[in-house]
């Protein structure tokens, strides 16, 4: 680890902790009421969803329009598990139950992602998009008709385990894991497929294997996001996980920049908070939201950050540099 990396680690850790402290104080002093806390939690969940989708859409460069389906599987399987666990009467701390439920949700969803990905990833681009829409609809309709999880009425009786405190740190951990995944040799291999599949194969990368891996890892984290959602709402119903919800997540990823994880984070925050903030405009709300998307896509089609990542260290450096430059220019003029 060189000096710059250590510096980056320290700066990021400080900013993550201080952001948490800001929220903590806001919540303690009741500046943030329950409604705002709810938005903050949903934002965290959407960050996880968008980042996990970015593994397939951004790193692998494939169109995946069925992310809501994976979220549904994660939500249902984890909720089913936690209800069963609570029924056994074993007294575990909430956070342990939540993490176990998330792991179960993640693994089940990852498995489904693996099973769906293996045959479908032979397709590319819009064809894959259509197939993923199909699968996510199948999943939704399955849950509407599946009696053990409540059918169309939804699954009730889930204990609410998610609080802002735990979801914040869980989100941070998942953000870090997806980041490190993208920068490992596996992540590099997946990115090389996006860049040029034929060249990637010729460079010795087993492309089929890595496509399926990207799909599996993406659905694993989507399942974790779904688990958080289930244990925040304490209720899951199939009608939440529609095609439109998949599109919403895809929009976040495109808007943030395909392949940019920090872009996904920023876009998830904006696109979750913005509609809520616009509630004052009542009927114009969706109009403003859609207009913002259109304007964005016209003037910045590559998304907010394109493929680059936002780096706090570089940001601070550039602020400092600007100050230095101003000083030196100012000095020059004085002479």
């Amino acid at each position: 680890m060189d000096k710059n990396k250590r510096k980056a680690y320290i700066i990021n850790t400080i900013s993550v902790v201080s952001l948490y402290l800001v929220f903590f104080i806001l919540i303690q002093t009741k500046v943030m009421n329950k409604y705002f806390i709810g938005i903050a939690i949903l934002t965290c969940i959407m960050i996880i969803m968008a980042m996990s989708l970015n593994i397939v859409a951004g790193f692998l460069g494939e169109m995946a329009l069925g992310h809501a389906g994976f979220m549904a599987i994660g939500a249902y399987s984890s909720a089913y598990f936690s209800i069963a666990l609570m029924d056994t009467g074993i007294a575990l701390p909430n956070i342990v139950v939540l993490i176990l439920a998330m792991i179960v949700g993640g693994i089940v969803t990852g498995l489904v992602g693996f099973l769906i990905g293996t045959p479908t990833l032979r397709l590319r681009g819009d064809y894959l998009g259509i197939v993923t829409i199909g699968f996510s609809e199948i999943i939704r309709i399955f849950f509407i008709n599946f009696a053990p999880t409540g059918g169309a009425a939804g699954l009730k009786g889930i204990t609410k385990l998610v609080t802002f405190n735990n979801v914040y740190w869980i989100t941070i951990v998942i953000i870090i894991l997806i980041f490190t995944f993208g920068r490992s040799k596996q992540g590099r291999a997946i990115i090389s497929i996006r860049e040029d599949e034929i060249a990637s194969e010729a460079a010795g990368i087993p492309t089929t294997k890595y496509k399926v891996l990207a799909f599996t890892v993406s659905s694993f984290f989507a399942g974790m996001g779904g688990a958080l959602y289930a244990h925040y709402q304490a209720f899951v119903e199939p009608s939440k996980f529609t095609f439109m919800f998949s599109i919403e997540m895809f929009v976040i990823v495109v808007l943030g920049g395909l392949g940019s994880l920090t872009g996904s984070i920023i876009a998830a925050i904006i696109l979750t908070v913005l509609p809520e903030m616009l509630r004052g405009f009542a009927e114009y709300r969706l109009l403003v939201y859609s207009l913002a998307l259109v304007v964005m896509m016209i003037f910045r089609p590559q998304g907010m950050l394109g493929r680059s990542e936002f780096s706090l260290t570089k940001f601070i450096d550039s602020l400092m540099l600007r100050k230095d430059m101003k000083n030196s220019i100012g000095g020059g003029e004085a002479q």
Binding site: L177, F181, S184, K185, Q186, A189, E201, G204
Partner: protein
């Protein structure tokens, strides 16, 4: 010792026979040229040797192992790598990352170790970083390590593609028209590079080329194909005098 051999390989696309009963034997540390007029089937032969196409009939043996049923990435692992006629780099990645991707199979850590950045991750990544930098330095491209591939000058892009092909430590390197689009000065530099890597890495080089100066200048042995058939084989001097070759290139 024969490193790569093709025995009577034939490739048919529907009714068209692109390559007909083609034979090839490459010994270790040889520099062989494959030439022929446009549409003679050179690239098809290349694609069969690298596993992109499966020959309709015949057999290809690399290091005593048949590669007919192997995928292109398996063939890379077995020791044959290639470059492309129209450069295929990972354009939005840096030069160093391009090489690192081809070094993939020598980096040993699994996904979990990578995600949690265990000690193994750091040592393996450091090793990969150093090895790939070394490779770029051999090509005098050290200064471009952090430049995006798409921003490199054309000649450097060609060199980077060769460097990437070498990162998988091949025994046979196949270059598909490496001098395409190069000016004479760049071609001369490329000739030197090819000669240099052949000796430095002790590998066999198979070259498809249009540029006669390049082929005649560096190849020890040349195969001429036309209409999917070998029409001549020999040293550059023999090829130049061969009436069949003259007919294929200039007509009767």
């Amino acid at each position: 010792m024969t490193v790569l051999s093709a025995k009577n390989i034939t490739m048919q696309f529907g009714g068209l026979t692109a390559v007909d009963q083609f034979n090839l034997e490459l010994d270790s540390n040889e520099l062989v040229g494959l030439i022929g007029p446009n549409g003679a089937g050179k690239t098809t032969i290349f694609n069969m040797l690298t596993g992109v196409y499966v020959p309709t009939s015949g057999d290809i043996v690399l290091n005593n192992e048949s590669i007919l049923k192997k995928t292109p990435h398996d063939i890379v692992k077995l020791g044959a790598s290639r470059t492309f006629q129209n450069i295929r780099l990972f354009k939005d990645l840096t030069a160093l990352e391009n090489v690192k991707i081809a070094y993939h199979n020598f980096i040993n850590y699994n996904m979990i170790q990578g995600m949690f950045r265990t000690k193994k991750f750091w040592t393996e990544e450091k090793k990969a970083h150093e090895e790939c930098e070394k490779l770029l330095d051999i090509f005098d491209m050290g200064e471009y390590a952090d430049t995006l591939a798409k921003n490199l000058p054309y000649g450097q892009q060609r060199k980077l593609e060769i460097a990437r092909a070498l990162a998988s430590e091949p025994k046979v390197l196949m270059l598909d028209e490496p001098a395409a689009g190069m000016n004479p000065a760049e071609t001369v530099e490329l000739m030197e590079t090819i000669h240099f890597i052949r000796n430095k890495f002790d590998i066999t080089v198979l070259l498809i080329e249009h540029d006669m100066k390049l082929v005649m200048g560096i190849c020890e042995r040349i195969l001429v194909v036309d209409y999917g058939k070998t029409i001549a084989e020999g040293t550059p001097d023999e090829i130049l005098k061969n009436p069949e070759v003259i007919r294929a290139y200039l007509g009767n």
